[in-house]
């Protein structure tokens, strides 16, 4: 019996786990799938040496990893599999922050804010003259990376004096007990903790993405109107492995069921037509990254990229 080895991001893990579970059931355990969680970076490390067949990634591959894979002679097929929306949330007792603009978020999170923007009143006039407490995933996570890219404009450009945790449940906990808190994390954590949190709709000033403030929700993410805080999640398949019948079978199964299963574990599926394109991309064996190997890009529509990439 053969083993399909998968490793990588903890964010993507639930989707892949769900797929693997169903896949095992369907193939009656004839094909074994194992999944590790050593982070997107750790996953690529193993992937680029040919140790794993598939890598879970919460961000597109980065230049240093591209080089690594080249060195390891691993060609990869990049397959987006679902969306993750980043929900901006506050405490339910917060009765002032009914919505925010991306500009306000930038003012709050950019590096210059460190030590200066300390109060709610500094974000928008009229908000309370109270200290603001910020919560977000650790600087090391793809989520944080994407957020800074999307809001501040440069990945990693952020203030550092916020409360970080690798575990989003901890952030939920922190925000739900602190009236003056504000934070962001995957929308799933909001969906499962609606009673403890209040979502802040975000206005990106671009009416093409929905007029006015848009709250993070499955529909808005799916429709592409929750911008710029929606990001795609990926799996990377080694070209060589993809020629193995069991891997091929698995990936096909993955693409077929990704829409349903990603919803099932709390993520947002890509638009219907995107999966068709992804399937084609895989069939054709298109290697390389849609993002040019430069990491995250903001505000892109996956289906458009995919069309271009075919």
């Amino acid at each position: 019996r053969s083993i399909i080895k998968i490793d990588g991001s903890s964010t993507v893990y639930p989707v892949t786990e769900a797929v693997a579970e169903e896949f095992q059931a369907e193939t009656k355990g004839k094909i074994r799938v194992t999944i590790g969680v050593s982070g997107t970076g750790g996953g690529f490390k193993k992937f680029c040496t040919g140790e794993t067949d598939i890598s879970n990634a919460s961000r597109p591959i980065k230049p240093s990893e591209v080089t690594r894979c080249k060195e390891g002679k691993v060609e990869y097929i990049e397959l987006p599999i679902s969306y993750d929306g980043l929900a901006v949330v506050v405490n339910p007792a917060n009765d002032w922050a009914a919505h925010m603009t991306t500009g306000e978020l930038k003012k709050l999170w950019e590096p210059a804010a460190q030590g200066t923007v300390k109060k709610w009143s500094q974000v928008r006039d009229g908000w309370p003259d109270k200290e603001i407490h910020l919560f977000a995933p650790g600087v090391d996570s793809g989520t944080f990376d994407y957020f800074t890219e999307a809001i501040v404009g440069k990945s990693g450009a952020s203030r550092g004096d916020y409360t970080a945790s690798e575990d989003d449940n901890v952030l939920v906990q922190g925000i739900s007990t602190d009236k003056y808190a504000l934070g962001f994390f995957g929308v799933a954590y909001y969906e499962y903790n609606k009673d403890k949190l209040k979502i802040v709709p975000i206005d990106d000033g671009n009416d093409a993405n929905g007029k006015g403030p848009v709250p993070a929700s499955y529909d808005n993410v799916l429709r592409g109107t929750y911008q710029p805080l929606s990001r795609p999640l990926f799996i990377y398949v080694s070209k060589k492995s993809s020629e193995k019948p069991e891997v091929k079978q698995f990936i096909e199964f993955y693409i077929e069921n990704a829409a349903f299963l990603s919803k099932d574990v709390g993520y947002v599926s890509l638009p219907e037509e995107a999966y068709g394109l992804i399937s084609k991309r895989f069939e054709k064996g298109v290697t390389g990254s849609l993002f040019g190997g430069k990491g995250s890009q903001v505000g892109v529509k996956i289906d458009e990229l995919l069309k271009k990439g075919l």
Binding site: S10, G39, G42, G138
Partner: protein
């Protein structure tokens, strides 16, 4: 012939024992080997001077600073708080269990305390965050939701059994005749414990403390969960901080690409911790030699 065989056997055994002892050196060599190349690379790009003197640690931000001090401050602070809890409680428990408790009580309490050492540290992390911090906040309103204090305390609790159990063993094995000698002079149990048994067991007690401190320095999950992941050069226990160990897991399990300077920081940081603790151990070894050996 038999004798020759016996002697050969002794040699073989001694050799085997020696190899086992040497394994610790191999482990260290291995650790250094694993760390050294990446560390060297790291210092190729970042000057040691900056590393040692910069007061900010932000390698994962756009504006990068590579000052190790904040991480060490965090480690020092949490370790210090942990020992503030674990030392007195652990030692008092040890004395109580060894000298006061009936054998029955000791045989029940000691293993139960040891369970504390076996609780997964993830659990402790959440305990610190969800239980201890709110509790402390009701006493100290200015306490942040993430801080050094509560993981420090919880770490201390985790270490209690290390100190109490090992010290208890050490005191328990002090010969009865010494207890008799002290009691016959009219000492109370407390005086006997503190003035005779404790010093007589000092070697074992100090070993337990060293293990306890080491455990605090090396502890990861508790601080990673409850201390806030905010490197900050401060000794204020009320604000979020980050420790060396928390930083290392954060990066090693995170999404940072391998081989980048950001990633290499963990090797440099690991190496520095290794060097610093080694020097501290060197000092404590020297102190021990200097002051205690004579009466062992």
């Amino acid at each position: 012939m038999h004798k020759g065989f016996q002697r050969g056997k002794e040699r073989v055994i001694e050799g085997a024992l020696f190899l086992c002892a040497l394994l610790s050196i191999f482990t260290t060599v291995g650790i250094i080997a694993v760390l050294i190349f990446e560390t060297a690379d790291f210092f190729g790009e970042v000057s040691i001077f900056e590393f040692l003197t910069d007061t900010e640690w932000t390698p994962l931000f756009a504006n990068k600073h590579f000052g190790i001090m904040p991480l060490f401050a965090g480690t020092f602070l949490t370790t210090f708080i942990a020992m503030l809890v674990a030392l007195p409680v652990g030692l008092v428990s040890a004395i109580y269990l060894s000298e006061y408790a009936t054998p029955r009580v000791r045989n029940v309490i000691k293993p139960m305390l040891e369970v504390l050492a076996g609780i997964p540290t993830v659990v402790y992390g959440f305990f610190a965050l969800l239980f201890v911090t709110p509790l402390l906040q009701s006493l100290i309103p200015s306490l942040s939701g993430f801080n050094a204090l509560s993981p420090g305390i919880v770490m201390g609790i985790m270490i209690i059994p290390i100190i109490s159990s090992l010290s208890e063993d050490a005191m328990h094995s002090v010969p009865m005749s010494l207890r008799e000698g002290a009691l016959a002079l009219g000492s109370t149990k407390l005086q006997t414990s503190i003035k005779v048994i404790f010093p007589a067991a000092l070697s074992g007690i100090s070993a337990s403390c060293i293990i306890g401190i080491s455990r605090a320095v090396g502890e990861t999950m508790i601080v990673a969960i409850a201390a806030g992941l905010q490197p900050r050069l401060t000794l204020n226990p009320l604000v979020p901080i980050e420790t060396v160990t928390a930083y290392i897991v954060q990066v090693s399990l995170g999404d940072t690409p391998w081989g980048t300077i950001e990633y290499k920081t963990i090797f440099a940081v690991g190496m520095s911790l290794f060097v610093v603790t080694f020097m501290l151990n060197l000092v404590s070894f020297w102190l021990k030699k200097r002051f205690w050996q004579a009466y062992e």
